[in-house]
Point group: C2
DNA sequence: TCGCCGACATCTGTATACAGCTTTGTTATA
DNA sequence: TATAACAAAGCTGTATACAGATGTCGGCGA
């Protein structure tokens, strides 16, 4: 999958983050600057820049002479991320949210329709895309740019683990997504951003329970 | 102030952030990669790396052909940062804090003594150093690494504005620091990290009021 | 067969050269 | 004198070459 057009640093960063979140680069995967540079059609410099920032987000670690590896989160770290995400969720509604527009409602409706079709015919990749779009929509509803940044960061850290569960418990996560989107559509329809936050908080809690059940309970 | 020893990227990043927070690089200041490279005794590459990450933290902006400038926060942005910091403060105690050690108490006591001496003989630079050390201590009390990271980020964004007020209202901020440290020492003495968070929340509120009073009320 | 050691391959970290963009000072013209 | 065009300097963005570090694999000896 070689991108023909020359990409800039931000594009490269976003794409690598996306691949980590979507498990195209699973934990332990080694990223090679030279290979990425070739793929994106640039030199190693902008790739290094992008990786350097991703490293600072805590998604990868680089060791000299070895390469850059996608971090494997410990159970405790995953718990910490989810704990934080729950608290951030409740702040979404309380901290100067942006007013709801008709476009928001249209987007959430489209996502709900897509999720319902997903329930009948599950596709992991499509589930990831849907969630990604939903996270983007919610982030945009956050009026405080500082909170929005933190929300995104925490999402990046949680995503890969979350999506690992999705591949294991397909029907379960599809049903949960439909329910979540129904609740969110209702909340957005009323212009009640605080309710959006509470729905998120609850769903994050469910998500963590699924992680514990499907990943942590397994014997290593 | 030329650092004789060769510095690595992390050192350079921390030093530049420090200079921005301490207003050695005030808002609008232009940072030149070449000059910094010379000063730190390295090439432009690691300096660029450091600046790239600082840029991603929102402390500076880079324009091609012009340079990297320290951002000037708008009133709204400052309010957003302080709002976020207040909420994060309350989370300090609730999210799995690390147990208090005798070393913590010794450090807070030393800071209190220093603050008391500062009240009699104010020195802006010394005030900054004291606050910086206090922020470090509090960050270390946070058990959740995600929250700790967010706490630090928000501090970096708030610091320069906060310290701009310190130069204007010396007696006022010195007295507030003494009071804050007395409360914190008391809380830490009881091992009550939740109280530490509440003290922080209150003090952040006071700090924002001082900013509004001393900076925003002025006619531009 | 197991353990140790050394050469090799490979990857990141850094330095440096060059290209592209922006600003600014200067000069010519109305 | 004012203004517009132009040239030059300076900065960041990128490419590339080299140095340093680490994993890997084969051979040797006990």
């Amino acid at each position: 999958m070689t991108t023909s057009a020359k990409a800039n640093v931000d594009t490269i960063q976003a794409e690598i983050i996306r691949r980590i979140c979507f498990l195209d680069y699973p934990p332990g995967q080694r990223l090679k600057e030279a290979a990425l540079a070739t793929e994106f059609g640039v030199s190693r410099t902008p790739v290094r820049d992008a990786i350097s920032r991703i490293k600072h987000l805590g998604l990868v670690e680089t060791r000299n002479g070895v390469g850059t590896v996608v971090v494997t989160l410990t159970h405790a770290q995953i718990r910490h991320v989810y704990e934080m995400r729950q608290h951030l969720a409740t702040l979404i509604g309380t901290m100067s949210p942006r007013p709801v527009t008709p476009g928001d409602l249209a987007r959430i409706s489209a996502l709900l329709d897509a999720a319902i079709s997903l329930e009948r015919n599950f596709d992991t990749r499509f589930y990831l895309e849907l969630n990604d779009q939903l996270q983007d929509l919610i982030a945009e509803l956050i009026g405080n740019p500082v909170l929005r940044s933190f929300w995104r960061q925490a999402y990046f850290q949680a995503a890969s683990t979350w999506y690992r569960v999705a591949a294991l418990a397909k029907a379960e996560v599809a049903a949960a997504l439909v329910q979540e989107l129904r609740d969110l559509k209702d909340a957005i329809n009323r212009g009640d951003i605080a309710a959006v936050g509470y729905v998120q908080r609850v769903q994050i809690g469910y998500g963590y329970q699924r992680i514990v059940h499907h990943l942590f309970s397994k014997v290593d």
